[in-house]
């Protein structure tokens, strides 16, 4: 393929390094240094996509982040698909595969385009809402169809093969943008000895200086750029980040940078390289030198391929050696716009006309054009272009001095390219991320950054200062100011001398009038990506949307992946005119992070796959794995859920494990229970304040169960605490509640009772807890210790220090199964040793490992609650039938006491926890099932409670359940019904939740 639009010389491309790429299946050639967009233009590709709503053919319009149309799908394989890549920012590499994202069956012959053509005027804003409202039941299918037709690229269906990194950075000064002002700021800050990061979204530093023929100190500007970059690279404390978009400016100068490390090299990153990095920077000062985007003008059919912003035309010629057409008509409201015509003329192609909307332009560039004898038509505008897949001609007419009306007759000019310049919009996006409202500047006809609380400086184009000399000076000043602010002394920098160009005042014009009223004129696009027209905005205003934020949401202006970088100001101007207000009165919408789309990979970094969330394992975890345990997530812990053998089903496993515990002995890894070491002379007093029951008299060597309540009186955690010494306790918590309980203790100690001398520390991971439970548990433990385990010497609720399997152990004789039970606590790294010794000795007792599920069944047989399963933050101890665990004798009003005496907590008919025995012993009520008294009551039925725990009990031979029933403790023996989603009803009798061994004899043997 020939590159028909490529110049023979010039530009920052390497003609000795050709590169092939494909677009929509066809192969093309470009050069090293090209962007995908410049290579497409070199090859004369006009249509790069179809528009979102009307399916109109669209071409490349801009040259950077602001590009709304050339948004392509990249990727040579399914796994490397990347949607919504701006071709203007994607560097070309050999073998790049790209495709347009809109258009079916293809961008060149598109069926939806017909609808756009004939139905344009029938698709006002809100069209979809208004048209597809009825019947409501069909909205889902309408929506699917509409979305398919409007698609904006797609996600890959396979996992991303690349790796990404997150990096945390700190610096004195972060400089955003490496154009003239950014480089001047960086040079100054670097020479002053500051720690500097300078980031720029382009492949090389230089910003606007790369796109022009400007000189600095009489030499090409690029030479100054090279010298500065070379010097910056010599400083140890300066980090240069090209290909790095500063995407978010957050509170306290926290800034995120998206660095594309290998996107310019290949479809997939080279081995051992991260494809992208997400820098999280905390900067003492931020210098925004983000420049400005040129605004296109809004005129009829301004979206036909060949219509571009004038600055982009210059950039493609000067930087890439590409002239994107043959015959140019330029329309401008200001002097800067003339540059495109001068560059076009230099490239040796035909400038058909320069259309200046002002009566006359007297700036240096206008003078230069006049000197060359270019055809300048003043006081006029391009009111319409003709053509479908490429501009074929333009209509030019004189307009009134205020730009509101066409005043003269229409002349048609033949042209294939229309460049327009409506002035510049400072890139204020980052400055508004932190909530700063931009302010309108009449002089520059644009918004500039407003007041901010951030440590932020601005320089150059972002301030509406487009003169290179001024930009350099402002960058230098920002660098000096930053140096002073971080306590460094001023640096010596001699700025290069820039050309001084005389500029004439710009005209404040955004929307070019047509012969017909806006509503009837051919479409005048404001936001290309979301297909918002000037007429659409007028309709929105007419329909009563007066706030610019409402106009935005109704029309979708600025909602594309480009966030309306090109169109927003024009849209506000159109709305302002329709509402008869000024632009500052109309206000601006607020830009939000991210400045340009960022891949999920870069955000996630390495925090994916196995590193997505930490996993916590007990010391015996590998044993569990080797013995076939199925695991359950409890917080971050992996706990054995059950240990299936052979081809057992889960229920068969549970039955076997449950029976083994009650018949002989089972073992549970209880290491994950939270353990908090509490010490200090007031430790006992403190426990009395945070638990609902009494702790004053608990003797050394004893354990006690406690309920922990909030100030509202509601139970939130429970556990056994042991008295290790007069001033020393070991508190256990639920597995999931450990961290919360520790913080709970700390907040009360630190903020309410600092006078108590007490200290807390988490010791959860320090201990392995091996719980053996069952009638043979004593016999088993006796084989591993010399200690006298007799019931006389080692009573229920005692704990003893002893050696087990040769290692020191704290053994607690407490029970969560209702069986004779010993919780053996050893230093964590002895856990597996003792566990294995228990199994050696336990063979003859059929020692059976069991997991959390069997533990749940066994405790439910005894009616023991699980905080978080049988409680939900709305039940107090009396609701649970655990009034025995509340002491009203304590002198201090412990946490929860006042709460559980509130009127609502002592009223009758509260939901109370009861046992539930199903009439059909085999029926297991689903947990969460709602209780009713009359299953025949029409829906909605009166619900009186729900089931919290429900299991099949192999030991009892029937199902068991616990649940809440209104006034349940007084309803023993009464019948309730559980109507299920499948239409069946389970009948149950209210009973005591203690199904097995109500006197507690088994644990006391």
């Amino acid at each position: 393929m020939t590159q028909q639009n490529r110049l023979q010389s010039g530009g920052r491309i390497d003609r000795s390094k050709p590169m092939t790429f494909t677009y929509n299946g066809k192969q093309f050639t470009g050069f090293q240094g090209d962007t995908l967009a410049s290579a497409m233009l070199a090859n004369g590709i006009n249509v790069v996509g179809r528009s979102f709503k009307y399916s109109r053919p669209r071409g490349i319009i801009a040259c950077g982040a602001e590009e709304p149309n050339a948004v392509l799908q990249l990727g040579a394989t399914e796994a490397t698909q990347v949607p919504n890549v701006r071709a203007t920012q994607q560097e070309l590499f050999n073998g790049l595969v790209s495709a347009s994202t809109n258009g079916w069956p293809s961008v060149d012959t598109d069926v939806m385009g017909m609808i756009g053509k004939v139905g344009g005027s029938m698709m006002p804003p809100g069209f979809y809402y208004k048209t597809f409202m009825f019947p409501q039941s069909l909205w889902d299918s309408y929506e699917t169809m509409i979305r398919k037709a409007a698609g904006m690229g797609r996600s890959p269906l396979e996992s991303d093969p690349d790796t990404y990194d997150n990096v945390n950075q700190h610096c004195d000064v972060l400089i955003v943008g490496a154009g003239p002002s950014g480089l001047a700021a960086a040079l100054t800050a670097a020479r002053g000895g500051a720690r500097v990061i300078i980031a720029d979204e382009q492949s090389e530093f230089g910003g606007s200086l790369l796109n022009t023929k400007e000189t600095l100190d009489g030499k090409p500007a690029a030479e100054w750029v090279r010298a500065v970059v070379e010097e910056l690279a010599t400083y140890e404390d300066v980090m240069l980040l090209p290909r790095s978009t500063v995407n978010g400016y957050h509170d306290h100068n926290f800034v995120t940078i998206h660095e594309r490390c290998t996107d310019h090299l290949a479809d997939i990153a080279p081995v051992n390289q991260a494809r992208q990095k997400h820098h999280r920077v905390r900067a003492k000062w931020v210098v925004l030198a983000t420049g400005a985007h040129e605004r296109p003008l809004v005129f009829s059919n301004n979206d036909v391929p060949g219509c571009m912003v004038s600055n982009a035309v210059s950039t493609y010629i000067n930087r890439y050696g590409v002239v994107p057409g043959n015959e140019l008509v330029l329309m401008t409201t200001n002097d800067y716009g003339y540059q495109a015509a001068l560059d076009w003329d230099d490239a040796g192609r035909k400038v058909v006309a320069i259309v200046d909307t002002r009566a006359s332009g007297k700036g240096s560039r206008a003078e230069a054009a006049r000197k060359r004898g270019l055809n300048i038509i003043s006081g006029s505008a391009v009111i319409e272009v003709q053509g479908s897949k490429r501009v074929s001609s333009v209509s030019v007419a004189a307009i009134s001095a205020d730009g509101h009306k066409v005043t003269g007759s229409v002349t048609k000019l033949k042209a294939d390219t229309v460049a327009s310049s409506g002035g510049w919009s400072p890139v204020i996006h980052l400055s508004s991320h932190t909530g700063s409202r931009p302010t309108w500047d009449d002089q520059i006809v644009g918004f500039v950054p407003g007041p901010t609380v951030q440590k932020q400086l601005t320089a150059g184009g972002i301030n509406g200062q487009y003169d290179t000399a001024v930009a350099l000076k402002q960058g230098f000043d920002a660098g000096q100011k930053a140096l002073t602010e971080v306590g460094l002394s001023a640096a010596e920098v001699v700025l290069p001398k820039a050309e001084t160009l005389k500029t004439d005042a710009p005209m404040s014009l955004f929307h070019i009038p047509h012969l017909k009223p806006t509503s009837q004129a051919p479409k005048q696009f404001v936001d290309y990506q979301t297909d918002v027209t000037a007429a659409g905005i007028e309709v929105a205003c007419r329909e009563g949307f007066e706030s610019i934020e409402h106009v935005k949401r109704y029309t979708a202006m600025g909602f594309g992946t480009d966030q309306g970088k090109l169109g927003n100001i024009n849209g506000m101007a159109v709305a302002a005119k329709a509402l008869n207000k000024t632009i500052p009165e109309t206000g601006t919408t607020i830009f939000r992070p991210n400045y340009t789309p960022i891949s999920f990979g870069a955000i996630a970094g390495r925090n994916c796959g196995a590193l997505f969330d930490p996993e916590r394992y007990s010391a015996m975890h590998m044993w569990h794995v080797e013995h076939g345990a199925k695991f359950e997530d409890v917080g971050q812990w992996k706990r054995p859920w059950y240990f299936p053998q052979g081809s057992e089903t889960m229920q068969q496993t549970l039955d076997r494990e449950c029976l083994a515990v009650r018949d002989s002995v089972g073992i549970l890894d209880a290491s994950t229970l939270g353990k908090i070491d509490v010490q200090g002379k007031d430790a006992r007093e403190f426990l009395g304040r945070v638990y609902s029951n009494a702790w004053a008299k608990l003797a050394v060597g004893k354990c006690r169960y406690g309920l922990m309540c909030g100030e509202d009186g509601m139970v939130f955690d429970d556990g056994v605490s042991a008295c290790l010494g007069d001033n020393h306790f070991l508190m256990t918590t639920t597995t999931g509640g450990a961290a919360r309980v520790l913080e709970w203790l700390e907040i009360y100690h630190q903020t309410e009772w600092p006078e108590l001398e007490v200290y807390f520390n988490t010791v959860t991971d320090h201990w392995s807890t091996l719980t053996i439970s069952g009638p043979n548990s004593r016999k088993l433990l006796e084989e591993l210790t010399d200690y006298d385990l007799s019931n006389d010497n080692f009573k229920f609720m005692d704990w003893k220090q002893m050696k087990v399997a040769g290692v020191p152990a704290r053994v607690f004789r407490i029970s969560f199964t209702g069986e004779l039970s010993f919780e053996i606590n050893v230093q964590a790294n002895y856990g597996t040793h003792v566990w294995e010794k228990l199994f050696e000795a336990g063979k003859k007792y059929n020692l059976t490992p069991y997991g959390t599920e069997t533990m749940h069944v066994l405790r439910a047989e005894k009616g023991f609650i699980i905080a978080g399963q049988d409680t939900d933050g709305s039940v107090h101890p009396y609701d649970l039938g655990m009034g025995w665990c509340v002491s009203n004798q304590k002198p201090f009003s412990y946490i929860g006491k006042r709460g559980m005496n509130r009127v609502d907590c002592v009223r009758p008919n509260r939901k109370q926890l009861v046992g539930l025995k199903t009439k059909d012993p085999k029926a297991v009520i689903p947990e969460g099932a709602q209780a009713v008294l009359d299953p025949k009551e029409p829906i909605p039925m009166t619900m009186i409670g729900h089931v919290t725990s429900s299991y099949w009990s192999a030991n009892l031979g029937h199902s068991i359940a616990m649940g809440f029933i209104k006034g349940g403790l007084d309803k023993m023996g009464e019948t309730v019904y559980y109507p299920l989603a499948n239409g069946t009803v389970i009948e149950a009798e209210i009973c005591s939740p203690i199904f097995l061994d109500p006197k507690g004899e088994r644990q006391n043997v």
Binding site: H250, D251, H252, N253, F254, R282, T434, G435, V453, E711, D712, E743, E746, I747, Q750, T751, E752, P754, S893, K897, R898, G899, N901, R902, V903
Partner: protein, 94 residues
């Protein structure tokens, strides 16, 4: 993301190490049993939601585990000061 000075560690640390624990300066009534339900309800549930200066309780959860107070502007997210438990703010709403 905030940059927070921990008055106990005497260092600026990232927000990830901290979390907010609600409004500051809400003392637990010294005699809860003497409170009416209304008083108790106000102690428990009623909090300010000011636009502007706000005093908050924070904890250096992944650091020293100490609680401290912060005066923060809820509109600009500026942290005006941090101070230890038991101390009074020097920046207050007008």
């Amino acid at each position: 993301m905030f940059h927070i000075y921990c008055p106990h560690c005497a260092e600026y640390r990232e927000e990830e190490e901290f979390h907010a624990a609600g409004q500051a300066h809400i003392p637990r009534p010294l005699d809860p049993d003497a409170c009416s339900d209304k008083e108790w309800g106000e102690y428990m549930f009623f909090r300010k939601n000011p636009r502007g200066i706000h005093h908050e309780l924070w904890v250096h959860a992944a650091g020293c585990r100490k609680f401290f107070n912060m005066t923060r502007d809820t509109q600009t997210y500026e942290i005006k000061e941090v101070y230890k438990i038991g101390e009074q703010p020097s920046v207050v709403a007008e």
